[in-house]
Symmetry: C2
Subunit: 445 residues, 2 copies
């Protein structure tokens, strides 16, 4: 029977923008590695597929009122790997602002030291601040970022194949450490990148990390159809998620790939209470902690319009919104526009709507209700699982693990224990063969 896949999306104090102010949050531990190790251990105890770290190589503005610094994923996840044994470890890393050789090394190494648990959330980096940390005046436009990303994935995939699985011999008697005939320069010379290779490490347990992707723009969806094995996405409604799911799966099929081997995982940020009223009261408690000065600047970033100084109880001025084309980044902008068109909120209502999880699905209810809604999405062609985004950590995850997960298990929707040891095995994905081994095999036939 088809099963849910569940990731825990880690975010310092939790996903609600005011999480760090919540009475049960642990904001003084947001730079303490043991806080994250404990969180990953709890997610592993719940048999989650993976923990996931977002990233961006710049400090966003608007740092005064919320936790906006970044945890560097490779180092953080390596330290988490050492404290866990089964859970997958998904790091976000940028094709625009890293050298492919360096990125390939970091992931191969994370996969080695975790015994095959690495996943790569492939991003082109949407934050314009990043360019100025890397010698550029202008952030490259969407189209060229994705063109480079395609070539980048090609390069690092070849690097991860460059040592065949049996290249390591390690035979003290003969004195052969490695079979150099099975270690291949990749000799890549393309439009954006030139990389000779081979990689300087043997092939890792999974061959390469699981490829994850999260862009929902046109470019993002086309890219995902070609490369992704898991897709993170943000939807406010079942309809929106179903539309996205059908669209992506058909694009995957059109690329000649198996749609079942591409897992679509929307975000969900659940407020959980023993009654629905209690859950809604909890959500309201968070929303009371919102600082409008912060939220208005976040909204400005999302939609490109500065609404500070307006009466928060006025309706959002729809006529002032830019068009999608004017924004050059697609997915999250469109989501906000959809909310505005659908709900016609006041500015204050919109701020609360987005404070929960930056545009992801926020839902409040009893454990049974949360499980019902997840099941509905899962069974009606909207999701293969979820990126779970607790409003606060670590307690907000514990409630989910203790109250919601057992219901999903009783319904046969989620594993009780791991069957395999790698992220590929959790997601039910095959281990890719090195292209060089494949080519050798073909020529031997």
């Amino acid at each position: 029977m088809r099963q849910l896949h569940l990731n825990l999306f880690v975010y310092p104090a939790g996903h609600h923008e005011a999480a760090w102010r919540f009475r049960e949050a642990e904001p003084h531990r947001v730079l303490d590695i043991t806080y994250y190790q404990e969180l990953a251990q709890r997610a592993e105890a719940a048999a989650f597929d993976a923990v996931f770290f977002a990233d961006g190589p710049a400090l966003p503005d608007n740092v005064r009122y919320a936790s906006r610094f970044r945890l560097e994923p490779f180092t953080w996840l390596s330290a988490i790997a050492a404290a866990t044994s089964r859970i997958g470890l998904i790091a976000t890393a940028s094709t625009s602002y890293m050298e492919p050789y360096n990125l390939a090394r970091l992931f191969a190494s994370l996969d080695h030291l975790s015994g095959g648990r690495a996943g790569w959330n492939i991003v082109t980096t949407g934050a314009p601040e990043a360019a100025r940390n890397f010698g550029l005046d202008e952030h490259p436009p969407h189209a060229s970022r994705y063109a480079r990303a395609d070539e980048f994935v090609e390069v690092v995939s070849a690097l991860w194949d460059s040592w065949e699985d049996d290249a390591l011999v390690i035979d003290p008697d003969s004195g052969i450490f490695a079979d150099d005939a099975k270690i291949h320069p990749i000799q890549h010379a393309g439009q954006w990148l030139r990389v000779q290779g081979p990689l300087n490490t043997p092939r890792s347990p999974q061959g390469r990390p699981v490829y994850v992707q999260a862009g929902s723009s046109e470019y993002g969806k086309a890219f995902a159809a070609r490369h992704a094995e898991a897709i993170f996405t943000a939807h406010q409604t079942l309809d929106s998620a179903r539309g996205f799911y059908a669209d992506v799966k058909s694009r995957v099929k059109a690329e000649g790939r198996d749609p079942d081997l591409v897992k679509v995982l929307p975000g969900i940020s659940p407020f959980i209470g023993s009654t629905e009223a209690e859950a809604l009261a909890l959500q309201e408690e968070f929303d009371e902690l919102i600082q409008p000065e912060y939220s208005l600047r976040q909204l400005h970033r999302l939609i490109g319009v500065d609404l500070s100084g307006r009466d928060l109880d006025d309706p959002v001025p729809r006529e002032e919104l830019p068009t999608l084309e004017q924004r050059d980044y697609g997915s999250r902008f469109q989501l906000v526009v959809d909310i505005i068109e659908r709900e016609r909120p006041t500015i204050r209502q919109l701020l609360k709507r987005l404070a929960g999880a930056r545009g992801h699905w926020v839902t409040a209810g009893t454990p049974e209700q949360i499980a019902d809604r997840m099941q509905e999405w899962f069974l009606s062609g909207a999701a293969d699982g979820f990126n779970v985004m607790p409003p606060y950590l670590n307690g907000g995850f514990d409630v989910f693990a203790e109250e919601v997960v057992p219901i999903l298990r009783r319904r046969g929707l989620f594993r009780s224990e791991y069957e395999g040891t790698t992220l590929r095995s959790h997601y039910g994905l095959p281990r890719p063969e090195s292209r060089y081994t494949a080519s050798r095999r073909r020529s031997a036939v």
Copy 2:
């Protein structure tokens, strides 16, 4: 009383080039993180200052007969950090082939998650293969690599200062998470690099990693005098080490820095036996495992002359050696030339001489003799401590820790336990103040 500083230089199966073939080596664990975690734990139990990982962003040639792959230091040391609590963690990273923003993040993060134990071995990368993994046809020459390195250190130092220590406020009541007046763009625009900043993480426990440097060329020594807090170096004789030590300390002084705050740490690769004859027999056992085809190619890399096909018992043809200027990389080439001039070895003798630890000091003796020689170097102005390079691992380290370290302790030359928790405290180095805090303090006077 002045004390020795001891690092453990980690190298997959050990530092002798044939270590992986030795009967007590564990070559099948060279990709197993627990092997390295155990090694670091043993070094920590011995109260060593640090473990040290070399690195280079390319696969060297000559992979058939020896362990030549690379362990990516940031991931590897992060996983080691999670399994230790006091020992320093020194990662090699290249100013030629990394983006400064990315490097600054990785070290800040390693310093955070280890509680202040990170060190940076600053290299410009001497391996010409590296260039071709980063889109370049030609490896940049020594001079321009060091010019970029100077600017690179300036940039990352500013990034590490960019959050003042008290920028993090985390006050749930007032809603202030960070004091943005204490987070500074660095606005760097130089000859090689343009980086706006600020870094996207708060200042780390040590402020910045300890700066380590290992080049012994003219450029390397000048660079070290400006920046280094610890210097790794290779010397075959006490005289050579004393000359280097005096030279470096006077250069440091000429830069207006305190020579006592720059620790000079030569490599030592000790073969230890209960008698001197037993130690020499152990060394001979390793040398019997050498594969001349491998060693000749390594020698070719070092001196630029291919001696394969010659009779190994012929003298090294001194007249065929290039000059230092022709080589464009200084330190290790000069060291080999010195051996040839001093000892007039046969080719076979030279191969054995270099097999032990790639040109570092190899010495065989009883624990007492090893301790005597270290003490002599330490007390006669040749060393502030050592980079210990066991011929094989992990057993070769255990012998040193169990047999030699207690003698050094009885003589009052080495600590029995750590006094502090950071690498800076082990080395007796001050924690640098953020330049922005210093400037604020000065303008307040």
